[in-house]
Symmetry: C2
Subunit: 202 residues, 2 copies
DNA sequence: GACCAAGCGGAGCACGTGCTCCGCTTGAAG
DNA sequence: CTTCAAGCGGAGCACGTGCTCCGCTTGGTC
């Protein structure tokens, strides 16, 4: 399932048809460019890739930040929807949790801007964070109920772990792609209930 | 042991005394500013903090990158020296490894530029990387000889883990400082030889 | 004390990048 | 077909930031 399969979230009635089309083209192109180059790219590059002038770009998105936010929101929601569906479809709680990390990391591996957004101030919007927390919490609860998750592990721990590993994915993307799977495996084993010693308080 | 306890690596004979003094002041100030603000700070801020003009700064360091490299090299070497001494002084191999991570992360937690340097292209100089690998490899070997490290764990795995956790330290530095210790604990438990299943190949 | 090369300060230049302005074009309503 | 507001393109402005230039100052030597 790719991004294009998800419905565009904000169709705007009353606008001229070409404007609507341009808006969609810009979001599409910006998504690609941000993913490849990170949030620091020159806006002209996005305009160029969209085949649209600067005026048009800034008519639709008053600032670069707003464009980035729109794109990230869209990509996050697509990813979260997929992740949720996949999690629901997996019977075994542990496989569901592991699969979530696997999917998250391999998706984000190809999207610089998304990884950056976790580091930078602000990051993704609150509603996305909230949604992400909900999914992780559901996965965590299922594992706890099955007695296979280490006691004391919080949703925040899992969220932070995901962000931390994302970074590992990025740093090894060029030199040793796939090495992150080893770290993931190590972390998951550390999360197993076979480890009974309590974790340090904050 | 702090940075000031380490000898300045490059005293330059034949230079005027005030120039030598200024050079030291600049390195000191730049170290603080880079640590607080990251590598993206305005050079003027470093000049201001040094109490020195732009001309003086650029006389000693022809580019900002060179200044940053000099500062990072110095800080890395100070950190590595401390880490090595501490590792040598710890009898128990596992405590030595855990202590290395603990020290690395709590040091880097207060130094944005260092963490960034692992992410950015280039990063620390090759000789630093090499030295760091040597230390980690020594720690790893001791653990392997004692039979307490999970089979198949490489020096690269441990290096990558360190960088990955550094990121976690940064992202939670403001909101939940100390949470990274929980992730570290989880990772270390996953590295224990009690986990016998082999890690995925690259 | 006199001399001067080495060193210094900071105004200002060059350039990259976010954003605007305005004359031209075009979808669509009548 | 006519009309025109909505939309478009891209030159160029504003500003932040790396770096330079040059007249002034000063440590060191005789």
């Amino acid at each position: 399932m790719t991004l294009a399969d998800h419905p565009s979230p904000a169709p705007r009635p009353g606008r001229r048809a070409d404007a609507e089309r341009n808006r969609a083209v810009i979001i599409e192109a910006a998504g690609e460019v941000f993913a490849e180059c990170g949030g620091g790219v020159d806006v002209r590059e996005i305009a160029r890739r969209s085949g649209v002038g600067m005026g048009t770009l800034y008519r639709h998105f008053p600032t670069k930040d707003e464009l980035l936010a729109t794109v990230l929101e869209r990509q996050f929601n697509a990813w979260l929807t997929d992740a949720h569906q996949q999690a629901m479809a997996t019977e075994d709680p542990w496989r569901a949790l592991a699969g979530f990390f696997e999917q998250t990391l391999s998706t984000q591996a190809r999207n610089r801007a998304v990884v950056e957004s976790f580091t930078a101030t602000g990051g993704p919007s609150d509603s996305c964070i909230q949604r992400c927390y909900s999914i992780i919490d559901e996965l965590r609860t299922r594992c706890v109920d099955a007695g296979i998750l280490r006691p004391g592990v919080t949703t925040e721990d899992l969220f932070l772990l995901s962000g931390s590993l994302s970074q590992a994915v990025l740093t090894t993307a060029d030199s040793r792609p796939g090495q992150w799977r080893r770290l993931l495996r190590i972390s998951l084993d550390g999360l197993s209930s076979r480890n009974t010693e309590s974790l340090p308080e904050h």
